[in-house]
């Protein structure tokens, strides 16, 4: 039987562990220090912990670090890393270097339950939630870790469908006992699970991104099944009920579909529904997936849409597509080919 992993445990969990084993209380901070600040490679290397206590820890725990098993490099410098997560399961993380920013797009689930019409990850169904350790491991074992400036939870899976582990991972990234990152360097993206948005806004200081894709509820229902449970108006009502100050950012992701959501009618409605929310819209080129009935808007239409929204006073940018040739771009991450699970109904 596999031993539990130390990597991915929070300080409070470590305090419980050391108390249970009968180690001094301060050992919890020592372990956290080794795990998240000193990048220790083995429990035996935690040399400020007594040899006997290290032996006990090794007996009860694995460190839980996992190296990537494959990397693909795009012509634009984007790298897609494949990480194994347990038996026959894999996730991808995309490293996106730019002039001043180096961003890692991490996964939170193997596959996804949300079934959005435009997303490749959704095509593989759902296989597993990642543990906090498996989420943080994507950063810990990234060869470019020390160059990272930003982290986005926009890889495989819906982060807010794995709330406990995602919140633990955010705690590890942002705590002084963990990686000590500013929460302003981290953005978590959701399709709009309302209770989880509330918890996230209450308990975390990280930025929030919401997949919007159309301001019209009936249209959104065709694109995103979550709309049948949590409506867009409810999502916006929730966000509007928070005073996020000037430091914390809410952005809306908007994939541009030709003749579907790129019309002046959409600009007008976006301006109406986002009124009163200090936010920005990221326009994203659609990266076609197999058998999709959707078509991407052309560059001129996207540019025009951006200008129209900016003229309405909504700060709008166009996200540069990266890593499309290695299927690392937005909506293209998938390990479906590696999933051999039969589905019989």
């Amino acid at each position: 039987m596999n031993k539990p992993s130390l990597f991915g445990t929070t300080l409070s969990e470590l305090q419980e562990i050391v108390a249970e084993i009968g180690m001094p209380k301060f050992t919890a901070r020592q372990i956290a220090n080794w795990l998240y600040k000193k990048d220790v490679a083995a429990i035996a290397d935690m040399t400020d912990i007594s040899a006997e206590n290290r032996r006990i820890l090794e007996e009860k725990f694995d460190l839980g670090l996992v190296q990537h098993s494959k990397v693909q490099v795009s012509v634009d410098g984007t790298k897609k890393y494949l990480f194994p997560v347990g038996a026959l399961k894999f996730i991808e993380a995309a490293y996106i270097p730019e002039q001043t920013r180096k961003t890692l797009c991490v996964s939170s689930q193997v596959g996804c339950k949300m079934g959005c019409l435009f997303c490749m990850t959704g095509k593989q169904g759902f296989q597993a939630n990642l543990s906090a350790g498996q989420i943080v491991n994507q950063v810990r074992n990234l060869p470019e870790k020390d160059q990272l400036t930003n982290l986005v939870y926009m890889g495989m899976g819906e982060p807010f469908d794995n709330m406990e582990e995602v919140m633990k991972s955010l705690e590890i990234f942002t705590s002084e006992w963990g990686y000590g990152w500013s929460p302003k360097r981290i953005t978590v993206s959701t399709i709009g699970i309302v209770p989880a948005i509330k918890r996230f806004l209450d308990e975390s200081q990280c930025h929030l991104a919401v997949s919007l894709h159309t301001p019209f509820e009936d249209e959104r229902k065709m694109l995103m099944p979550i709309q049948t449970v949590f409506s867009l108006s409810e999502v916006l009502e929730t966000i509007r009920s928070y005073d996020l100050g000037r430091q914390r950012r809410v952005s809306f992701e908007y994939i541009m579909f030709k003749d579907l959501n790129d019309t002046p009618r959409h600009v007008k409605e976006l301006a109406r529904i986002l009124n009163g929310i200090r936010c920005r819209i990221n326009l994203i080129r659609f990266h076609p997936i197999p058998n999709t009935p959707l078509k991407g808007s052309d560059d001129a239409a996207i540019e025009q849409f951006m200008v129209a929204l900016n003229n309405k006073g909504i700060r709008t940018t166009i996200r540069v597509s990266r890593g499309q040739d290695i299927y690392a771009a937005c909506g293209l991450l998938s390990t479906k080919e590696l999933v051999k699970k039969p589905v019989d109904d």
Binding site: K113, P195, S231, S233, E234, D344
Partner: protein, 225 residues
């Protein structure tokens, strides 16, 4: 009316209800009941928990909008956080539910309902609420006993298709919904398709329908989140 009227976050407060019945309608598949003291639209869901502070899960209402009791259908998931306790409730026990929420609404217009397993629940609610005309129901299940409430739907005659993936039987189609869709010469293109099931089922079925020429604009899905 917008969905906001039904799904305001404040309405997700969980309130106690007293169980009036629990029936195991098939192996590990349960139907629980409690008295209805709210109105709802067929296709809506309730958040459900054993305690008001527990993490809740959503379940489609399986009863008609005029029925005196609300019924909820679920699979027992061994090791799950909610269903083992839910499967053990007895009349008089208290569980906690939200007000109805969601907008996977039934319609009086012609429609094709496609369900996998307990995904039949919202369609049963629509059916029991009187939305019976011009409906085609495609239901998939693994075993002969997986076609819950089949007696009620038999009046649909040829418009009731049961896809059984592991057993053969009279009047059943042997195979997955996708295979059934692929084999159809023509599917009606003048009506909406409502899908309810797991993420895999919804994605695969939606792809198969689109492949058959059904516009994605006519496909509405509810996934077991």
């Amino acid at each position: 009316m917008t969905s906001l009227d039904f799904t305001g976050t404040k309405k997700l407060t969980l309130n106690p209800v007293s169980i009036t019945g629990r029936v195991e309608i098939a192996p590990s598949v349960f139907l629980i009941s409690f008295r209805r003291d709210f109105s709802f639209i067929p296709g809506q869901v309730l958040a459900l928990a054993m305690q008001p502070t527990d993490q809740y899960r959503f379940y489609s209402i399986a009863s008609g909008m005029q029925d005196p009791e609300v019924k909820l259908l679920f699979d027992l998931k061994p090791g799950g956080q909610l269903t083992p306790a839910l499967a053990a409730v007895n009349p008089g026990d208290i569980i906690y539910t939200s007000m109805p929420t969601g907008n996977f609404y039934g319609t009086a217009k012609p429609a094709v309902w496609i369900a996998a397993g307990t995904g039949i629940a919202p369609f049963l609610s629509m059916w029991r609420s009187g939305l019976k005309r011009d409906k085609i129901l495609v239901h998939s299940g693994r075993f002969l006993h997986s076609f819950y409430f089949e007696e009620e739907f038999k009046s649909l005659e040829n418009n009731y298709i049961r896809c059984c993936t592991r057993e053969s039987g009279d009047g059943l189609y042997f195979g997955r919904i996708n295979k059934w869709i692929e084999e159809q010469k023509r599917l009606p293109n003048d009506r909406r398709y409502f899908l309810c099931g797991s993420a895999e089922m919804v994605v695969d079925t939606r792809d198969a329908l689109i492949e058959k020429g059904i516009s994605y604009e006519n496909i509405i899905a509810e996934i077991y989140f």
